[in-house]
């Protein structure tokens, strides 16, 4: 299953040619950061530091890193409730992210958003949408802004395979295509919409065909290959910056965990998870770094150690953060005065 997607791209690209040595180290670090972050969120849930629910992205890190590394600092991003990946890849402050998920006043949104709503306008992280498909129209709007401003910005939106069955997806694809907006639609096809396997809800497994319904270029990429994701995204971004309109990128990937905290994913057929664990995006990239001689084992180990310590320290600081003061929240609700 996973092999098919690599064939679909028809491209075998070397790390060095796409990323260079420094870029390769950055990519590896970002992949690890997201993995360690998500693992720590899971552990924190078990420890009682996180309440409610949380949707983790272990196994999908290469999509976040490969797409985000194709962007400029002034580009715009919208993503989903499974959205920690793009935020960390974009450089969100780790302590602020943890503190938000822990509900502390030191969180990126003062604890008002939570795990499903990490945002940071300074980084172009416009919004994490907890309603399936709701972030796509907003990304289209950011694409209108980008087009109007005329300085080559693009807007990128992440969504899952499940979102391609909701109206907002189709309306957004259509509007972006008819107005030729600089929007990159990144579909993380992890084979499950919440608890349901894709073929039980969708009449095809290759969602890229849906791009053609909107006369939009569509590409399929191995979403567990960070180099392939970056390579494909760069092409899409270049098209968008040049004024040639949107692109749909289907990233074939796999959610190594269940849908949310309470889901153990027991509906998966035997062997499926194991097969995908063989293609873990971090292991794949690590092996290739070694094979191409871009990092040696000592270098990798040092990076892994540093990232782990960084994440642990950020989480520890976040856990010390104060709870938000209980007070009226009108000022967070409205920007303007309520009575004139």
């Amino acid at each position: 299953m996973a092999g098919k997607s690599s064939e679909a791209t028809g491209r075998v690209v070397s790390i060095a040619s796409v990323l260079g040595a420094a870029g390769a180290r950055t990519a590896y670090e970002k992949l690890l950061l997201i993995r360690e972050f998500e693992n720590k969120v899971y552990d924190s849930f078990v420890a009682g530091l996180v309440q409610g629910t949380t949707h983790l992205c272990q196994g999908q890190e290469a999509v976040s890193v490969g797409t985000v590394m194709a962007l400029r600092d002034d580009d715009y991003l919208t993503y989903t409730y499974r959205g920690h990946g793009p935020c960390i890849a974009r450089g969100m402050d780790l302590e602020g992210a943890f503190a938000e998920i822990f509900g502390r006043s030191t969180g990126v949104s003062g604890g008002l958003g939570g795990s499903m709503h990490l945002t940071d306008m300074q980084l172009g992280l416009l919004g994490s949408f907890a309603i399936v498909g709701a972030g796509l129209p907003v990304a289209v709007g950011a694409g209108i802004s980008a087009r109007e401003r005329g300085i080559g910005q693009v807007s990128m939106t992440w969504f899952g395979d499940g979102a391609t069955n909701i109206g907002a997806f189709h309306e957004s694809m259509n509007l972006a295509a008819v107005w030729k907006l600089p929007v990159i639609f990144v579909c993380e096809n992890n084979l499950y919409g919440e608890y349901s396997p894709i073929l039980s809800t969708t009449p095809m497994q290759d969602l890229v065909v849906r791009a053609s319904a909107y006369a939009m270029p569509g590409v399929v990429v191995d979403g567990n290959d960070v180099v392939a994701v970056l390579d494909a995204t760069r092409r899409a971004v270049a098209r968008a910056r040049a004024g040639d309109g949107p692109t749909f990128i289907e990233c074939k990937t796999y959610r190594q965990c269940g849908h949310s905290r309470s889901d153990a994913g027991k509906y998966r057929p035997p062997g499926e998870l194991d097969a995908w664990m063989e293609r873990d995006p971090i292991v794949l990239f690590r092996n290739r770094l070694l094979a191409e001689g871009l990092l040696d084992k000592a270098g990798l180990a040092a990076t892994e150690q540093r990232v782990r310590e960084e994440v642990q320290a950020a989480a520890a600081r976040a856990a010390e953060g104060p709870w938000p003061e209980v007070r009226p929240l009108h000022d967070a609700t409205y920007a303007g005065t309520l009575t004139a």
Binding site: G127, A134, T333, Y334, A340
Partner: protein, 323 residues
């Protein structure tokens, strides 16, 4: 001051906003070359071009959600919803995204979106094209909801909405488009964003919005002939609701009748009655009365629609029964 129609007031407010602020962009169905199905963007496409006055696909989810994306990235989108009923199509974008985004971001962003939604009955459009939308949107923190009942308010409320840092839904009424009146272009003389006494009286307080204000005024005329002096309050701003002018009035008159073009169950009238009773219980002598649409959808037949929408006579009868 100048005398124009409600529709012209809407066009004028948008023209001035487009001219004053390059961040203002209009989007909606057929608002461009066609000038809008109710001609509420007449001439603007010719004057400002297709990028500032954008014809959209019939795709409310996309362009209402897009408005939020534009607002987050430096623009001031103004959306026209051809019928307020179409808020049902993009309800998620309005109440889950636009209304809550600032809050979920810890108050660190503003979402200056204006949504003009044309609603209301009395024009024979049937069940899916006659709703005011008032009760659909008035309960959501994060939104502001303006209800202009005159050309003056159609103009100034739209100017205020476009300048507002928060999302504002302006519910315009289709049956009022030809209504004439004076507008005040001097922002320094605009009234506060709250209910307003539009006719003083001592015997009963009538609270109405949108097209019901005119009917309440006509009812007050009829009641005066029978010796009852009704005070009429134009609700104007449904959210955030400032109840003080209504409570002040009821405290003086001792009687309250609300008139709204929404179903009785869960209408804003219930909220007004509750607030008045809580704040002025000792001053209210008579049971409050609600004059509303019946609890069934709007019928098409003129005979049935006219019987459904609160009429002047129904308002008069309600007050007389109360007294």
């Amino acid at each position: 001051m100048s005398t124009i129609t409600y529709r012209e007031a809407i066009v004028r407010a948008q023209r001035e906003a487009l001219a004053a602020d390059p961040r203002v962009i209009l989007m909606g169905e057929d608002i461009g070359a066609a000038g809008g199905p109710f001609k509420t963007t007449e001439g603007l496409f010719e004057e400002f071009g297709p990028l500032r006055v954008r014809d959209t696909p019939i795709s409310e989810n996309a362009f209402v959600g897009a408005a939020m994306g534009m607002a987050l990235t430096g623009y001031r989108p103004v959306i026209e919803l051809m019928f307020a009923d179409f808020m049902g199509v993009c309800f998620d974008q309005i109440v889950n995204s636009i209304a809550k985004h600032r809050f979920m971001c810890g108050g660190k962003v503003a979402v200056p979106v204006t949504i003009r939604a044309m609603g209301g009955g009395g024009v024979r459009f049937g069940a899916q094209h006659s709703q005011t939308g008032e009760t659909w949107v008035y309960q959501f923190p994060g939104l502001k909801v303006f209800c202009p009942a005159s050309p003056a308010d159609a103009y100034l409320m739209l100017r205020q909405a476009i300048d507002d840092p928060d999302p504002v839904i302006v519910l315009e009424h289709k049956a009022m488009m030809a209504m004439k009146g004076e507008i005040q272009t001097d922002a320094g003389r605009w009234p506060a964003q709250r209910p307003q006494v539009v006719r003083p009286g001592r015997d009963v307080t009538l609270v109405a919005s949108l097209a019901m204000v005119r009917r309440a005024m006509a009812a007050a005329d009829a009641l005066a002939a029978q010796g009852i002096q009704a005070e009429v309050i134009d609700l104007r701003v449904l959210r955030p609701l400032v109840a003080e002018p209504i409570i002040d009035s009821v405290t003086r008159t001792g009687a309250l009748v609300v008139v709204e073009e929404n179903h009785e169950s869960g209408g804003w009238g219930a909220e007004i009655v509750a607030r008045a009773l809580t704040a002025a219980f000792d001053y209210i002598d008579k049971p409050p009365v609600r004059v509303t649409l019946p609890d069934w959808p709007m019928p098409y037949s003129p005979a049935l629609e006219d019987a459904a929408v609160p009429s002047v006579q129904k308002i008069v009868d309600a007050v007389l029964a109360q007294h």
